[in-house]
Protein backbone atom coordinates (compact mmCIF):
# COMPACT_ATOMS: atom_id res chain seq x y z
CA UNK A 1 0.00 0.00 0.00
CA UNK A 2 2.82 2.38 0.95
CA UNK A 3 4.81 1.66 -2.20
CA UNK A 4 1.72 2.22 -4.34
CA UNK A 5 1.19 5.62 -2.77
CA UNK A 6 4.84 6.54 -3.22
CA UNK A 7 4.83 5.55 -6.86
CA UNK A 8 1.65 7.54 -7.42
CA UNK A 9 3.20 10.52 -5.64
CA UNK A 10 6.40 10.31 -7.69
CA UNK A 11 4.40 10.11 -10.89
CA UNK A 12 2.18 13.03 -9.86
CA UNK A 13 5.27 15.10 -8.99
CA UNK A 14 6.88 14.50 -12.37
CA UNK A 15 3.59 15.13 -14.14
CA UNK A 16 2.85 18.41 -12.33
CA UNK A 17 6.45 19.59 -12.82
CA UNK A 18 6.18 18.87 -16.53
CA UNK A 19 2.78 20.58 -16.78
CA UNK A 20 4.07 23.64 -14.88
CA UNK A 21 6.72 24.28 -17.55
CA UNK A 22 4.80 22.99 -20.57
CA UNK A 23 1.54 24.90 -20.12
CA UNK A 24 1.40 28.03 -22.26
CA UNK A 25 -1.20 29.81 -20.14
CA UNK A 26 0.70 31.50 -17.27
CA UNK A 27 -2.25 31.35 -14.87
CA UNK A 28 -2.61 27.57 -15.25
CA UNK A 29 1.16 27.16 -14.99
CA UNK A 30 1.20 29.05 -11.67
CA UNK A 31 -1.62 26.91 -10.29
CA UNK A 32 0.24 23.81 -11.47
CA UNK A 33 3.36 25.10 -9.72
CA UNK A 34 1.43 25.46 -6.46
CA UNK A 35 0.11 21.92 -6.88
CA UNK A 36 3.69 20.77 -7.46
CA UNK A 37 4.79 22.53 -4.25
CA UNK A 38 2.08 20.83 -2.20
CA UNK A 39 2.92 17.41 -3.67
CA UNK A 40 6.60 18.09 -2.94
CA UNK A 41 5.71 18.85 0.69
CA UNK A 42 3.87 15.51 0.79
CA UNK A 43 6.94 13.79 -0.64
CA UNK A 44 9.17 15.32 2.05
CA UNK A 45 6.69 14.17 4.69
CA UNK A 46 6.84 10.64 3.22
CA UNK A 47 10.64 10.80 3.41
CA UNK A 48 10.21 11.50 7.13
CA UNK A 49 11.56 15.03 6.86
CA UNK A 50 8.66 16.98 8.40
CA UNK A 51 10.80 20.10 8.88
CA UNK A 52 11.43 20.42 5.17
CA UNK A 53 7.81 19.49 4.44
CA UNK A 54 6.59 22.38 6.62
CA UNK A 55 8.99 24.83 4.99
CA UNK A 56 8.13 23.64 1.49
CA UNK A 57 4.38 23.89 2.08
CA UNK A 58 4.61 27.35 3.65
CA UNK A 59 7.27 28.98 1.48
CA UNK A 60 7.51 26.88 -1.68
CA UNK A 61 3.81 26.49 -2.32
CA UNK A 62 2.21 29.24 -0.22
CA UNK A 63 4.30 32.39 -0.37
CA UNK A 64 5.93 31.77 -3.75
CA UNK A 65 2.55 30.89 -5.20
CA UNK A 66 1.01 34.07 -3.80
CA UNK A 67 3.89 36.14 -5.17
CA UNK A 68 3.58 34.52 -8.60
CA UNK A 69 -0.18 35.15 -8.65
CA UNK A 70 0.45 38.77 -7.62
CA UNK A 71 3.02 39.15 -10.39
CA UNK A 72 0.54 37.68 -12.84
CA UNK A 73 -2.09 40.22 -11.77
CA UNK A 74 0.42 43.07 -12.14
CA UNK A 75 1.40 41.86 -15.61
CA UNK A 76 -2.23 41.71 -16.69
CA UNK A 77 -3.05 45.18 -15.32
CA UNK A 78 0.00 46.61 -17.08
CA UNK A 79 -1.03 44.93 -20.31
CA UNK A 80 -4.56 46.31 -20.05
CA UNK A 81 -3.29 49.84 -19.38
CA UNK A 82 -0.91 49.69 -22.33
CA UNK A 83 -3.76 48.53 -24.51
CA UNK A 84 -5.91 51.44 -23.35
CA UNK A 85 -3.12 53.94 -23.98
CA UNK A 86 -2.49 52.72 -27.48
CA UNK A 87 -6.20 52.56 -28.16
CA UNK A 88 -6.15 48.95 -29.19
CA UNK A 89 -8.89 47.85 -31.48
CA UNK A 90 -11.34 45.40 -30.02
Amino acid sequence: MGILFDLLLAFALLWSAWRAIALTDPASAVVQFIVFGLLMALAWARLRAPDIALAEAAIGAGLTGALLLDGLGTLRTGQRQRDEQHGSRP
Partner: protein
Protein backbone atom coordinates in the same frame (compact mmCIF):
# COMPACT_ATOMS: atom_id res chain seq x y z
CA UNK B 1 14.97 20.89 -37.74
CA UNK B 2 13.29 22.11 -34.60
CA UNK B 3 12.05 18.64 -33.88
CA UNK B 4 15.55 17.18 -34.23
CA UNK B 5 16.95 19.81 -31.84
CA UNK B 6 14.16 19.06 -29.36
CA UNK B 7 14.86 15.35 -29.59
CA UNK B 8 18.58 15.97 -29.05
CA UNK B 9 17.87 18.05 -25.93
CA UNK B 10 15.49 15.40 -24.57
CA UNK B 11 18.02 12.65 -25.29
CA UNK B 12 20.92 14.44 -23.59
CA UNK B 13 18.73 15.33 -20.61
CA UNK B 14 17.70 11.68 -20.37
CA UNK B 15 21.34 10.52 -20.52
CA UNK B 16 22.29 13.05 -17.83
CA UNK B 17 19.45 11.85 -15.60
CA UNK B 18 20.51 8.21 -16.09
CA UNK B 19 24.14 9.09 -15.32
CA UNK B 20 23.07 10.89 -12.14
CA UNK B 21 20.99 7.91 -10.98
CA UNK B 22 23.83 5.47 -11.74
CA UNK B 23 26.42 7.61 -9.95
CA UNK B 24 24.10 7.94 -6.96
CA UNK B 25 24.08 4.16 -6.56
CA UNK B 26 27.88 4.01 -6.92
CA UNK B 27 28.60 6.58 -4.24
CA UNK B 28 30.97 5.29 -1.54
CA UNK B 29 29.49 5.15 1.95
CA UNK B 30 30.07 8.52 3.67
CA UNK B 31 33.27 8.57 5.70
CA UNK B 32 31.74 10.71 8.46
CA UNK B 33 28.48 9.56 10.00
CA UNK B 34 26.94 12.97 10.58
CA UNK B 35 23.55 11.84 12.01
CA UNK B 36 25.39 9.78 14.61
CA UNK B 37 27.63 12.70 15.57
CA UNK B 38 24.60 14.98 15.92
CA UNK B 39 22.87 12.41 18.13
CA UNK B 40 25.99 12.13 20.33
CA UNK B 41 26.34 15.88 20.80
CA UNK B 42 22.59 16.55 21.12
CA UNK B 43 22.62 16.85 24.95
CA UNK B 44 25.12 19.73 24.65
CA UNK B 45 23.07 21.66 22.09
CA UNK B 46 20.40 22.94 24.47
CA UNK B 47 17.52 21.56 22.35
CA UNK B 48 16.16 18.07 21.83
CA UNK B 49 15.35 18.19 18.12
CA UNK B 50 18.34 17.36 15.89
CA UNK B 51 17.27 19.69 13.05
CA UNK B 52 17.02 22.71 15.36
CA UNK B 53 20.29 21.71 17.02
CA UNK B 54 22.06 21.71 13.64
CA UNK B 55 20.40 24.92 12.39
CA UNK B 56 20.83 27.06 15.48
CA UNK B 57 23.81 25.52 17.22
CA UNK B 58 26.15 23.25 15.26
CA UNK B 59 25.77 25.17 12.02
CA UNK B 60 24.52 28.47 13.48
CA UNK B 61 26.91 30.34 11.23
CA UNK B 62 25.05 29.12 8.13
CA UNK B 63 21.72 30.20 9.56
CA UNK B 64 23.14 33.63 10.40
CA UNK B 65 24.22 34.13 6.80
CA UNK B 66 20.91 32.74 5.53
CA UNK B 67 19.00 35.40 7.47
CA UNK B 68 21.35 38.05 6.09
CA UNK B 69 20.64 36.81 2.55
CA UNK B 70 16.87 37.09 3.10
CA UNK B 71 17.22 40.62 4.46
CA UNK B 72 19.46 41.56 1.52
CA UNK B 73 16.89 40.16 -0.91
CA UNK B 74 14.24 42.45 0.55
CA UNK B 75 16.59 45.45 0.55
CA UNK B 76 17.43 44.74 -3.07
CA UNK B 77 13.75 44.68 -3.91
CA UNK B 78 13.21 47.98 -2.07
CA UNK B 79 16.21 49.60 -3.77
CA UNK B 80 14.78 49.13 -7.22
CA UNK B 81 11.35 50.61 -6.77
CA UNK B 82 9.22 49.05 -9.42
CA UNK B 83 6.64 51.00 -11.28
CA UNK B 84 3.48 49.25 -10.30
CA UNK B 85 0.29 50.02 -12.10
CA UNK B 86 -2.59 50.86 -9.84
CA UNK B 87 -4.72 47.87 -9.10
CA UNK B 88 -8.18 47.99 -10.59
CA UNK B 89 -10.96 48.79 -8.16
CA UNK B 90 -11.88 45.55 -6.56
CA UNK B 91 -15.43 44.40 -6.63
CA UNK B 92 -16.89 44.52 -3.14
CA UNK B 93 -15.67 41.30 -1.64
CA UNK B 94 -18.25 38.96 -0.28
CA UNK B 95 -18.43 38.80 3.51
CA UNK B 96 -17.16 35.23 3.70
CA UNK B 97 -13.50 35.99 2.96
CA UNK B 98 -12.97 38.81 5.51
CA UNK B 99 -15.00 36.88 8.06
CA UNK B 100 -12.95 33.74 7.60
CA UNK B 101 -9.72 35.78 7.68
CA UNK B 102 -10.68 37.42 10.96
CA UNK B 103 -11.29 33.96 12.34
CA UNK B 104 -8.14 32.37 10.89
CA UNK B 105 -5.49 35.02 11.59
CA UNK B 106 -5.51 34.67 15.40
CA UNK B 107 -5.28 30.90 14.94
CA UNK B 108 -2.33 31.39 12.59
CA UNK B 109 -0.62 33.56 15.20
CA UNK B 110 -1.16 30.81 17.74
CA UNK B 111 0.19 28.22 15.30
CA UNK B 112 3.30 30.34 14.73
CA UNK B 113 3.98 30.56 18.46
CA UNK B 114 3.42 26.82 18.78
CA UNK B 115 5.79 26.05 15.88
CA UNK B 116 8.41 28.31 17.44
CA UNK B 117 8.10 26.62 20.81
CA UNK B 118 7.89 23.12 19.33
CA UNK B 119 11.16 23.68 17.45
CA UNK B 120 13.08 22.79 20.61
CA UNK B 121 11.91 19.18 20.67
CA UNK B 122 10.04 18.34 17.45
CA UNK B 123 9.71 19.58 13.86
CA UNK B 124 9.13 23.32 13.81
CA UNK B 125 11.22 26.36 14.45
CA UNK B 126 11.75 29.98 13.53
CA UNK B 127 11.53 29.67 9.75
CA UNK B 128 8.27 27.75 9.74
CA UNK B 129 6.73 30.03 12.36
CA UNK B 130 7.81 33.07 10.34
CA UNK B 131 6.29 31.64 7.18
CA UNK B 132 2.95 31.17 8.94
CA UNK B 133 3.08 34.76 10.26
CA UNK B 134 3.90 36.06 6.79
CA UNK B 135 1.05 34.05 5.30
CA UNK B 136 -1.30 35.63 7.86
CA UNK B 137 -0.11 39.11 6.84
CA UNK B 138 -0.58 38.33 3.14
CA UNK B 139 -4.07 37.02 3.83
CA UNK B 140 -4.92 40.20 5.76
CA UNK B 141 -3.60 42.30 2.92
CA UNK B 142 -5.56 40.40 0.28
CA UNK B 143 -8.80 40.95 2.18
CA UNK B 144 -8.08 44.71 2.48
CA UNK B 145 -7.82 44.45 6.26
CA UNK B 146 -4.14 45.43 6.22
CA UNK B 147 -2.94 48.20 3.89
CA UNK B 148 0.28 47.83 1.89
CA UNK B 149 3.42 49.12 3.53
CA UNK B 150 4.30 52.36 1.83
CA UNK B 151 7.01 53.78 4.05
CA UNK B 152 9.85 52.37 6.13
CA UNK B 153 9.20 53.71 9.57
CA UNK B 154 11.68 53.20 12.36
CA UNK B 155 9.59 50.50 14.02
CA UNK B 156 9.37 48.52 10.81
CA UNK B 157 13.09 48.93 10.13
CA UNK B 158 13.88 47.70 13.63
CA UNK B 159 11.59 44.72 13.15
CA UNK B 160 13.10 43.81 9.79
CA UNK B 161 16.72 44.02 10.90
CA UNK B 162 16.17 43.00 14.54
CA UNK B 163 16.54 39.24 14.07
CA UNK B 164 19.86 39.56 12.30
CA UNK B 165 21.07 42.18 14.81
CA UNK B 166 20.17 39.98 17.78
CA UNK B 167 21.89 37.02 16.13
CA UNK B 168 25.03 39.07 15.40
CA UNK B 169 25.03 40.57 18.90
CA UNK B 170 24.88 37.11 20.48
CA UNK B 171 27.61 35.91 18.10
CA UNK B 172 29.84 38.88 18.92
CA UNK B 173 29.24 38.46 22.63
CA UNK B 174 30.15 34.78 22.42
CA UNK B 175 33.24 35.70 20.43
CA UNK B 176 34.55 37.38 23.57
CA UNK B 177 33.94 34.20 25.54
CA UNK B 178 35.50 31.80 23.11
CA UNK B 179 34.49 31.03 19.55
CA UNK B 180 31.89 32.48 17.25
CA UNK B 181 28.44 31.08 18.12
CA UNK B 182 29.71 28.50 20.56
CA UNK B 183 27.01 28.68 23.20
CA UNK B 184 27.86 27.85 26.80
CA UNK B 185 26.17 24.50 27.42
CA UNK B 186 24.22 25.74 30.46
CA UNK B 187 22.57 28.63 28.59
CA UNK B 188 22.37 27.13 25.10
CA UNK B 189 18.65 26.40 25.32
CA UNK B 190 17.57 29.87 26.40
CA UNK B 191 19.98 31.57 23.99
CA UNK B 192 18.59 29.55 21.08
CA UNK B 193 15.02 30.38 22.10
CA UNK B 194 15.92 34.07 22.40
CA UNK B 195 17.48 34.11 18.92
CA UNK B 196 14.58 32.15 17.47
CA UNK B 197 11.98 34.57 18.83
CA UNK B 198 13.83 37.51 17.26
CA UNK B 199 14.29 35.56 14.01
CA UNK B 200 10.61 34.63 13.83
CA UNK B 201 9.49 38.26 14.06
CA UNK B 202 12.10 39.51 11.59
CA UNK B 203 11.71 36.72 9.07
CA UNK B 204 7.93 37.03 9.25
CA UNK B 205 8.20 40.73 8.47
CA UNK B 206 10.76 40.12 5.70
CA UNK B 207 8.70 37.42 4.00
CA UNK B 208 5.54 39.49 4.33
CA UNK B 209 7.48 42.51 3.09
CA UNK B 210 8.21 40.76 -0.20
CA UNK B 211 4.47 40.91 -0.75
CA UNK B 212 3.39 44.02 1.13
CA UNK B 213 6.04 46.58 0.21
CA UNK B 214 4.20 48.06 -2.70
CA UNK B 215 3.33 51.62 -3.47
CA UNK B 216 -0.12 52.22 -2.08
CA UNK B 217 -2.75 52.12 -4.77
CA UNK B 218 -4.41 55.32 -3.51
CA UNK B 219 -1.04 57.05 -3.38
CA UNK B 220 -0.40 56.36 -7.03
CA UNK B 221 -3.79 57.49 -8.21
CA UNK B 222 -3.32 60.94 -6.71
Amino acid sequence: MKRIAGAAVMLSAGILAMALVVSMFELPPPAVRLPQMVQEKLPQSGVEHPVTAVLLNFRGYDTLLEVAVLLLALLGMLAGERPRPAAPDRAPTDPVLPGLTRFLVPLMGLTAVYLLWAGAHRPGGAFQAAAVLAAAAVLLHLTDLLPAWTSLRLRLRTGLAGGLLVFITVAAWLLGEGRLLQYPVAHAGSLILFIEVALTISLGLILAGLFLFLPDDDERRR
